[in-house]
Amino acid sequence: MRQVQHQSAFHPTVILWMMVGLSGFVLLPWYMLDDGLFSFSWVSDGYPFDSDVAPALFLVLQGQKMWLAPLGGLLVLPLALWGRRKNDPVFGNVLIAVGLSGLVWFFAQGYGISLRGWNAAFLTDMFGKLPERQFGMGWGAGLVGSAFLFLLTLGIAARGAVGGDVFVVSSIGLIVGLVTLFILLPILKMLGSALITEDGGYSLSSFAGKFLSLRIWGLGCITGGSRCGVAWNSLFLAVIVGIVTTLLGLVFALIATRTNARFQKLLRALTVLPVITPPFVIGLAIILLFGLSGVFTQGWAWLFDIQPTRWVYGLPGLLIAQTLAFTPIAFLVLIGVVEGVSPSMEEAAQTLRANRWQTFWTVSLPLMRPGLANAFLLGFIESMADFGNPLVLGGNFDVLSTEIFFAIVGAQYDQAQAAVLAIVLLVFTLSAFYAQRFWLGKKSYTTVAGKGDAGVHPPLPRGFTLSIGSVAAFWLMLTVLVYVTILYASFVKLWGVDFSLTFGHYIQAFSVGWNEFGLHWNGSAWDSFFTTLWIALVSALPTAIIGLLTAYLLVRQRFAGKGAFEFGTMLSFAIPGTVIGVSYVIAFNVPPIEITGTAIILIVSFIFRNMPVGVRAGVASMSQLDKSLDESSLTLGANSFQTFIRIILPLLRPAILAALVYSFVRAMTAISAVIFLVSARYDLSTSYIIGRVENNEYGIAIAYATALVFVMLAVIGCMQMIVGRRNIGRRGQAGSANQIQVPGGG
């Protein structure tokens, strides 16, 4: 055994978490303050005695909120472990007992006692009416909760879990805790609220009534009645978009890998488009081109002397917009698959007298089948979850995601209805996700990475090459048209009416002036722009950290329940932003976590919406890091935390940068979740733009969107340059960060 230099009488990690917990209990305000977590005005607001800002200890000493007292008692209990070593069974058992009972009590009081005293009628019946009430948890509560969590994981590690590795067990505890708190619980709470009837009771039959209503499942459009239910609309749209984007993605992948077309580079550059473009921007362009006052519609009407129609609003427009928006995602998936088909298979087929066409049909295509299914499911999920496009050009074609939105923000404010719709949406996407995972195999994080072995892919049949070439050219033209239109429209005075050019929209949005205080940001967009910027920045770091930590656990560690862990963290892939938005609104506007209307809820939603990006980036590059690097660090006496910090993080620098930038960019372009969560004080760029669109102020909306696209382009460009240059003599490491799959914003 290695000689241990310092052998203190009390385990240092226990001291650490006791200190953290006690400072939360004794020093910091227990409850959430009116002006948020990042303000320190409480220091002069009657601290520590005023009950609004008092730490738990002072509350209890003044005879208030006595239910907090046991937490303090539990926090000092680990002192009993003085002098005991980590491998002493008592050590682990005591910590497990303290941590577990602390957590249980912590959440029991949090969820049990709320703004109106006891939270449930049966508790009032049992214990009598409570004279006091409590608010959302704040700093103090947060620290105490974490202290209990990490004392528990320390105890579990001490009992020998995962080789007694405290860092690994604590990390697992952290991720499980966060995912439970910010993904699982909100969803469950939303499910629960779907059962609530108008008069506040719970009823299964009322739920069933709503769930099975004609509004959702009606088949009117087939049987000759009026309209079909929103569920069928969403499903129909998603299936078609899935099929079309998969086929187009395949076309592009084949062109990019199997022909020597000159525009291969251009094609690959296209994949960055969905990342930098807020999803509804495509929808806007479609309106500008084909809408009522769109250039094509107007031109057509003028040419044939007919009334311009609103034909594009609804299914046709949605199909065009979503196909344009999501094809790059399918392309990204399929390019790996197409490259992964070993050329020697195809060469073998040719030596067996198959011609080019037969080779493609009998060998290449079947080998790509799993990839095709994968691309289809991704397109399906993206289309289901898309919110921006249906909002701007859905017309009378209602889909689930917008319907949810209107249930919450509309005049009806019907939480239960929103929850029911969200459940339907969730069932669809989760089924697709489930199918992808269990029908196509487990590797959902990583694409097929392996390049084919030596040999060259045989060229495709001539006619086939020509036809896919023309399809691709058409699509490219359309894409270029979309972006040119957007750019041009941002300078047009009033589209469809007055096509004269102007800087007016930019000036209105982004003007800067001087006044007696110096620089003054006059433009109407600055407020939301700066808010978006700092919130995206603040959320990028935790996203990357949580993502990489999860990836580390998934790739490098073996532990009981790893399958469930993996499934849980992957789940957020499949949860549409709209559903997250609704469930956050429902779950986090009452204690114990009361953060609606704050910046925190935006940050939290970004972190957990974008976490899969960090996980993907981490898994992709960590699987390329030779495992013996960390093992040799361990045998050289570094523990797993030191190894993570000194070996893994430095070697993953490109992946970390990529994860940071992508989560930043996705946060800047996201709309579906945050539209529920923004407030007057914290408005974001995307929701501001959508607001302008709804007011028919297209000019400023488009100018703002254009500016956003350029900002994103600059950010991504800088990152590519930095990542591209960095290459420290490592096997197969270069460029891995560039291949990260990023599902589009939304």
Binding site: M1, G160, S628
Partner: protein, 358 residues
């Protein structure tokens, strides 16, 4: 100037088994072995027999499913790698690509509580030991494969571990370098008196470097002993065939007296150590280079017909058909006038044939 010493200790496995999660068969099955202090012991066996798993259990990178591991008299069964005083040289060397050679060597010292000054001195001493004192500022990617490996060895040595582990250390080197490197490792081990456990699947390498060899097959120990023991007296057919080559034949033990057996092989009768066998049918192993081709009329030789004679430079390789089976024999006299179809006598005098178990 600090000097690298050794804190060599013994390693002992007591009934160790390892079953990987999700697998039904054991990767290591009830293995009990001892590695004496200051000795170089090789784990030898075909790919997949459990050598790496055994090594990783000594390092603390895998944990036993059952059994006990004792290092230096202390039970370390549940200690993780970080807390064991064992260093390992990995097959891929696992040098940290973002650190210089010197930082690599200093890495482990930083976690061992040495003062800063001593860390530098020890790292230097370690590099000196492997002859790379001038390469400290380079990145691993700027070194040749052999140099990289020496860095990996220095990095492990400076910690003065109780046990030093090597997993197939030569497999990434080109053929010419292998002999040199294995001599270097052996010299260093003897000079510092290190306890070394060395994994290889190459029997020649194992014979050349080891104090003792532990032959593994299918997750169990097939035989252990000195290189000479294993070559001259393989315990069973697997060992006989895996170490060197052997002709394996059915024979008849006619009598056993004072541990000496009389063995009948076709028309030939031979005397050899009984190795615990009773009279009756038995198996015989004969090394190809311990068979002499003689005149067929010589007494007590096995009549044979040559079916194939191949010239391979330093010797002739012959296949000979006999009434008890086909023999593979090596004839060191390259000028011998033998050709296919010739009748010869196979002479097994000296220490040639041994009785083996199954």
């Amino acid at each position: 100037m600090s000097v690298i010493k050794s804190n060599a200790a013994s390693v002992e496995f007591r009934g160790v088994s390892k079953v990987y999660p999700g697998s039904k068969v054991a990767a290591v099955d009830d293995v009990s072995i001892t590695v004496e202090q200051g000795k170089l012991v090789t784990l030898l066996g075909p790919s997949g027999c459990g050598k790496t798993t055994t090594l990783r259990m000594i390092a603390g990178l895998e944990f036993v499913t059952s059994g006990k591991i004792v290092i230096g008299g202390m039970d370390v069964t549940t200690l993780p790698a970080t807390e064991r005083d064992v260093s390992m040289v990995f097959q891929s060397y696992a040098l940290f690509p973002h650190m210089t050679v010197r930082e690599n060597v200093e890495y482990g010292l930083k976690f061992s509580g040495f003062p800063k000054k001593e860390i530098g001195e020890r790292a230097m001493a370690g590099l000196m030991l492997v002859g790379l004192q001038d390469y400290g500022a380079r990145l691993p990617s700027q070194l040749s494969g052999g140099q990289q490996q020496r860095v990996a060895v220095a990095r492990a040595l400076v910690l003065e571990p109780q046990v030093l582990l090597f997993d197939e250390p030569l497999s990434n080197l080109d053929a010419k370098l292998r002999r040199q490197v294995r001599e270097d490792i052996r010299d260093l081990q003897i000079k510092l008196g290190l306890t070394v456990v060395y994994v290889t699947h190459d029997q020649e390498e194992a014979l050349a470097v080891s104090d003792r060899i532990i032959v593994m097959n299918n997750a169990v120990v097939a035989q252990e002993g000195t290189p000479r023991d294993l070559y001259d007296a393989p315990a069973n057919a697997f060992v006989a065939d895996f170490i060197g080559e052997a002709n394996l034949l059915d024979c008849e033990v006619t009598s056993v007296e004072n541990g000496e057996a009389s063995v009948r092989l076709g028309p030939v009768s031979l005397a050899m150590s009984a190795r615990g066998r009773a009279p009756g049918p038995a198996r015989l192993a004969v090394r190809p280079d311990r068979i002499d081709l003689v005149n067929p009329s010589t007494k007590n030789t096995l009549p044979a017909t040559l079916t194939k004679v191949t010239y391979v430079g330093k010797h002739l390789e012959c296949l000979a058909e006999t009434e008890v089976g086909t023999f593979f024999a090596i004839c060191h006299d390259v000028d011998a006038q033998v050709k296919p179809g010739d009748m010869v006598g196979l002479d097994f005098r000296g220490r040639g044939p041994v009785l083996i178990g199954d």
